[in-house]
Amino acid sequence: LRGGEVSKMAGADGDDSLYPIAVLIDELRNEDVQLRLNSIKKLSTIALALGVERTRTELLPFLTDTIYDEDEVLLALAEQLGNFTMLVGGPEYVHCLLPPLESLATVEETVVRDKAVESLRKISQEHSPVDLEVHFEPLVKRLASGDWFTSRTSACGLFSVCYPRVSSTVKAEIRQHFRTLCSDDTPMVRRAAASKLGEFAKVLELEYVKSDIISLFTALASDEQDSVRLLAVEACVSIATLLPQEDLETLVMPTLRQAAEDKSWRVRYMVADKFSELQKAVGPEITKNDLVPAFQNLLKDCEAEVRAAAANKVKEFCENLPEDNREQIIMTHILPCVKELVSDTNQHVKSALASVIMGLSTILGKDNTIEHLLPLFLAQLKDECPEVRLNIISNLDCVNEVIGIRQLSQSLLPAIVELAEDAKWRVRLAIIEYMPLLAGQLGVEFFDEKLNTLCMAWLIDHVYAIREAATCNLMKLVEKFGAEWAQNTIVPKVLGMANDPNYLHRMTTLFCINALSKACGQEITTKQMLPVVLKMSNDQVANVRFNVAKSLQKIGPILDSNALQTEVKPVLEKLASDTDMDVKYFAQEAISGKSFPITEYPPESRQHFYKIFIDVQDQLVNV
């Protein structure tokens, strides 16, 4: 008996409203984890039925000891308890929620612990200042001095929420606890402390930021474990924003310089990854003097991962340089490094650069772009790695705004043709997806001249995914260039394929018609496409015939009622009495006008699966 059916069977003596709740409570301990999870997610319903008193005295003690459960149940519980204040009697009693959350904050599963901490942070705001000192702060202390590092890591996330609301004596204690955790024996706790350092710094008084936080930051940034040091880089951003400009040089920069040259590539990677944030945090003066050389070094780093991370930041870094001498800095300091990256040995580095390099043209303007950047774009367009070329092509719009795409077309075309014919079908797929964008930028003339042939060739690709994408591409092109263009350039070619000896190509005609009819409009559809579709209803391959039925259904709404009645209906009726059961099925579906998902096959149709199987095989062979 499950909840939903209960109300119908209301009993005579018992309180029928209790039954669903009784089920929920019992299912807190059901063997099926889904049912337990369901009950936990409806914990507020249970609590509401029990009332605030029993929730506090019975339900919460029970929940405190259910930490044996599966992670997903514990995660749901931790989340629920964060919204439980009203259900235990309001802010006055909110501290009753601390014991279960405390035990959840010590489990080994990070997601559960983090959720428990999140809920604790939430309910900390609902504590009165007195309760915060009487109940919440002692919990933080207990966690901070717990035996296991799980509880100490959880404590790290709680200091910043209680600090602003406690007395100065307690504040001093909290600072002391945080200090202790920053030098904990286990790297887990030091990492947790390092990751919360920035957040904690934000709630501290400036004098303590300068005295306490800076020394902790310096210590963590020179920790023996690089996994701790790299987290200090993140804290660096927050700390730098808090300090007045004149203190940055002495308090933060020595550590940051050290991090940028750390022996561990992971720390340097982190610096590269956070470079834009760091740049904003330290301001233009320090950027000019310190970060520019540091960035140059990162772009030339011996580890490819670091170079790739730095290459990713090239555009953002340049954008954020102070405008007064931005161009000069880029031209003399950054561009030489970028030039080297274009011929980097590692393809991830080149590809990272290719994804942002085009953005430099807007910053440097037309002349610089033509003189300095264009050769780089062209080199990348000819790169051996398809991903690099794709990244350049996918960002053409940036450079189009500055110098127009014509400048590139000489090199662009061979690059596109090569990608279009790449042996890997995923590469071909990616370039197809950029076709509408390219068509828009290059204009109809250029497109007809150079790219149209490619777009048509994809229609007879031996991989289905490519043929499908090519169909979709045609639709987008027609939306861009209009029905007239379609009628003159692509419709004849598409319809010509209806006579192809390969049935897969004949089907492509139908798929194209499905996609294009709407964009082409009633006239083209009725006069040019429909006759071809109708003629194909006599095809010898059943797959073509039932696709005719599907196409007719698809283009039906575009046709006028006359054509529907006089031309379409007789053909569908003929197909509905086809010898092939799938053709029959789809013809009947089309006649009854039901829209149906393609996956819904007539249950008895094994033949159809066989056909689908052939088509799938056709793909598999060519992958």
């Binding site: 069977m9 018992g14 339900l59 799980t150 474990q225 991962e305």
Partner: protein, 434 residues
């Protein structure tokens, strides 16, 4: 300290051969894995008043099936369930965690205790009989009641599909968040919380497999420096890598190799120089390697030769031919340090195992046998006669039983308690307390 004469007790399993033995960080728990894919965990009982001479016994705490036999249908290969290695994680809360691995799949297990049970249902009474659902007049919240201690082992994560070859080592990093796993040709680095990807940090697979000249035999993380790990090879060399230097550690930062003595060169030289185990000392200053005939201690600061070399069973040098024929020459003996790094232990044949005191340079051969393991019995040193004449109490090389081999041993991280796996028997010996 190497005179671990002792009281002992033993646990006999069904015909299952123990394939790995490992103490946890406190020494309170001892895990064994066997060929049947099972993991058995022993717990150190507190001192009992009745037997004050004993430090307390190790009793079975939890037994569970870690791995099942599998079949790789794509490669038509059977994947054995045999546990190749067990490594404990540093304790993080009241539960204990360990990694166990067979040839292909690494699993993270949680071993936890439960001593409370919830009681009281709304729809059932105490005897489990259903109540009339229409006569519920009040709601009951379950109450937790004490119960007999129950130990549960639950699989927490499965790290699969990352090794093409057989996994020979797993090692937890001192950063407490990553670990490495090594197979014959590659080493992968995992995050303990992420199962769907790992980073390949070493790959020695040549483009053409016919050019393969060496394989990775063991790998271990440094106990304190989270960026340092070593791996040993079948050529008798050890490479130390620094993960700070680059994301891929194909280039080592140190290369430990002892020049070969040309006078002792033979057909078997390369086979017997293959390293079967490598272990960092607890201090992190040294590492120990085991090859077929010896144990070597290396100072991490000296790459050209080991600082100490101990012969384990030099008397077998003349027997290599027959040991090659019966495949014993490919046996992979492991080695271990005591808690203070002052002594080392490794196994041999005939259920003998060897201990070396690094300070006094004294060594001893002991035997793990039923006789020596009766309660309160003391282990007597054994001797293998190497010269022409066999003295009393000595055993001749020819009468050694090569089927009884001790490959896996473990030393308690703090106390003089050792665990010795002899085929399907686990012997635990401890210092006598007088």
């Amino acid at each position: 300290s190497n005179s671990v004469r002792s009281d002992s007790h033993q646990f006999v399993f069904s015909a299952d051969i123990i394939s790995t033995v490992e103490f946890n960080y406190s020494g309170e728990l001892l895990a064994t894995g066997d060929k049947g894919g099972r993991v058995v965990i022993f717990q150190h009982e507190q001192e009992s008043k009745n037997r004050p001479h004993l430090r307390g016994e190790y009793n079975v705490y939890s037994t569970f099936q870690s791995h099942e036999p599998e079949f790789d249908y794509l490669k038509s290969l059977e994947i054995e369930e045999k546990i190749n290695k067990i490594r404990w994680l540093p304790q993080q809360n009241a539960a204990h965690f360990l990694l166990s691995t067979n040839d292909k799949t690494i699993k993270l297990w949680k071993i936890s205790e439960r001593d409370k049970r919830a009681e009281g249902y709304n729809l059932k009474d105490e005897d489990g009989r259903l109540r009339d659902p229409f006569r519920i007049t009040s709601l009951r919240v379950p109450v937790l009641m004490p119960m007999d201690l129950m130990v549960e082992a639950s699989p927490r994560r499965i790290f699969a599909n990352a090794h093409t070859y057989h996994i020979n080592s797993i090692s937890v990093n001192s950063d407490h968040e990553t670990y490495l796993s090594a197979d014959d040709l590659r080493i992968n680095l995992w995050h303990l919380e992420i199962t769907d990807r790992s980073f390949n940090i070493v790959d020695i697979k040549p483009a053409n497999m016919e050019e393969l000249t060496e394989v990775i035999t063991a790998a271990e993380c440094h106990p304190h420096q989270c960026n340092v790990f070593v791996y040993s090879s079948s050529k008798g060399t050890i490479r130390l890598c620094d993960m700070r230097a680059a994301a891929l550690c194909d280039r080592h930062s140190k290369f430990f190799e002892e020049p070969e003595d040309p006078s002792s060169r033979s057909f078997f030289s390369e086979i017997i120089s293959s390293i079967s185990d490598v272990k960092f000392s607890h201090s992190g200053r040294y590492m120990m390697t085991r090859d077929y005939l010896s144990v070597k201690v290396w100072d991490l600061n000296m790459e050209n030769r080991p600082v100490e070399t101990y012969q384990v069973h030099e008397y077998l040098r003349s027997k290599l031919c027959s040991l090659y024929e019966n495949d014993c020459i490919f046996d992979k003996f492991e080695c271990c340090w005591n808690g203070s790094d002052s002594a080392i232990m490794t196994g041999s044949y005939n259920n003998f195992f060897r201990m070396f005191d690094r300070n006094t340079r004294r060594d001893i051969t002991l035997e793990a046998s039923r006789e020596s393991s009766k309660p309160r019995a003391t282990l007597k040193p054994r001797k293998v006669s190497t010269g022409g004449k066999r003295k009393k109490d000595e055993i001749s090389v020819d009468s050694l039983d090569f089927n009884k081999k001790i490959l896996h041993t473990a030393w308690h991280p703090k106390d003089n308690v050792i665990a010795v796996a002899a085929t399907n028997n686990l012997y635990i010996f401890q210092d006598k307390i007088n």
